[in-house]
Symmetry: D3
Subunit: 137 residues, 6 copies
């Protein structure tokens, strides 16, 4: 059977401040610029979740995308949507809330929960002009 990759796009809004508590204020400001502003800022994030697998001849699906949407919403999006990534997102507590660290945490949460099919790629857009991607390596 052919191996096809299917992707579901989800969106969420969150606040964050790029800040390393181990740095001095001056070091934080020099390293992160305006992304370190004291009271935070925020983004409309876009997350693409890609799952690869054989096409099931009974459904024509690799993975039912409405089920994938529910799964990712419940496991990841509900935890970050309309939240502050520095304060009230448990799985972000010990890392600096950059898109890089977000996507790795998202992967760890989702990795074991996709079956049939295999999680093969996450893409996270922070603005229209920058995004990060991760494939588990």
């Amino acid at each position: 059977m052919p191996m096809v990759t299917v992707t579901r796009r989800l969106k969420f809004n969150a606040a964050h401040r790029v800040h390393n508590p181990a740095f001095s204020d001056e070091e934080n400001s020099r390293t992160f610029g305006k992304c370190n502003n004291a009271y935070g800022h925020g983004h409309n994030y876009t997350l693409d979740v890609s799952v690869a697998g054989e096409v099931d001849p009974n459904t024509g699906y690799v993975f039912d995308l409405s089920r994938l949407k529910e799964l990712v919403t419940r496991e990841v999006v509900d935890a970050v949507d309309h939240h502050n990534l520095n304060i009230d997102v448990p799985f972000m507590r010990d890392v600096i809330p950059t898109a890089e660290n977000m996507i790795v945490q998202f992967w760890r949460i989702l990795e074991g929960k996709i079956a049939p099919g295999r999680l093969v790629r996450l893409v996270l857009w922070e603005t229209e002009n920058n995004y990060v991607e991760y494939d588990g390596r």
Copy 2:
């Protein structure tokens, strides 16, 4: 001379919490839902600034858009970009930081500063699915 309207689009990122300090916690939560979450969330905002005027035969311009970009950046965008609308944006201090109140404040700041040409419309997108517009009335 023909009257043409020219528009410059600008973007900024900000955090906010939709919250009325005069409401009880319960009333805030009931009225604003997840937009009232305690530690805020944020957006990639898109602002369209429209200026109408006659086309200057010497330049072919109604209003030099690079100058409009500088003016709006200096007067409005720098004050909100990478800031928290509830805390560190002086002109938002006495209003609930909804897109409606933002656009009215932006208008008041920009209105008298556009010449030649006349400010005729502001559009502010909060997400890809909702926006507000104001023409000074």
Copy 3:
């Protein structure tokens, strides 16, 4: 109080065939071209619903957009989403299912149901390259 216009964007998918039952086959084909193909085709429609009103000082809202989304979903989107506009959408039964006729029917359904605030504009995109708008006149 300032009058602001707020817009909520909604999406739906539907099938249609542009066909006038009073025309001959040949006349239908000549008038509507491939849009008249016998078994129908379909679109991802985008609907922008705009409501104008004064900003409520207690909420900073003209009209709660999550309530607007629910209202338009219940009254309009649920009736057309994943349906065939020629067959199983009651309010489209007596008109040719063009975007023009769709938007007028949508207006008639929504017009009396928006308060506070006043329905001022509907925009309906059929593809990325064509859209129609209506303001009730």
Copy 4:
């Protein structure tokens, strides 16, 4: 009958140099900045042509959009697409090739050719961040 406005979006690519032959080199450079660079630059333009009219009960159309596309392509787009606005577009010869002057020329060409229906608005995007609009006044 209800009055609906229908819009067809078209795209074209063109080169231009924003330059006033009556200015000195220094004056051109100061006024137009990098848009005055000697050998020109270019854009992917997007043009929205809007026509208002009553919905024809026999077709459900205000104006057949495939016919509108043909008309605008023939009258306007073919003249500018893959051309240099300073050199080989006859109707741009006597004006500085800004978006403002382009849209006024487009209007003059199209105005008398739309019937049934009335040309009510042109919008011309030069980049994703700036556009001009004209309604014939």
Copy 5:
């Protein structure tokens, strides 16, 4: 010579009903939800066709994209555009018309027809929020 991948994006509109004739009505409804609605719905599909190859020093091209557009339009797009995927698209007759099955059929049709250059990836967007991709494996 460097190996570059070039992509041409094409669009088409089609109706479909996600339905397995071997299932009971109840099983179809439970498996496919509203995508199984009796009279079908439809989409504006976007197809990205990617071809890899060495850059020809005489043309600067890997594959002339206007020729690629013609080829894909003739072989694939014309067969599905403004058609019903369940009824009048010969190569879709024996499969459930999901995006997964569509992209595999498209690949089989196009695979042997691209030369010089090698078909390396197809991406098919069904809505703005979901897409599938296939590379022939």
Copy 6:
């Protein structure tokens, strides 16, 4: 440490004429069609620069994207933005200014300048409907 790929999108406007000086006029016209028009045309180009690397635990970054933006602007974008690719872009002088040749030249310029992190992919959009990608092979 996890390996994440980060991407910064940049935009520029340029004029070009697809033309091979070694071809006859007739051969140029037959090969390149309207892209060979004598006085050039132009595009709004979009360039995505992707860098892979381990996430630095001190910053949460693979590569500071504001620094990447500055670097690519200085090394590549400033040379092409608002310029004519056939005439006044030194590194394009000896190649036909197609997107394929542009992306290979961009790679050669940027390849050795990205550290920490490794340049892994460039994508160059010429219009909304065609793009090229290159990974250095």
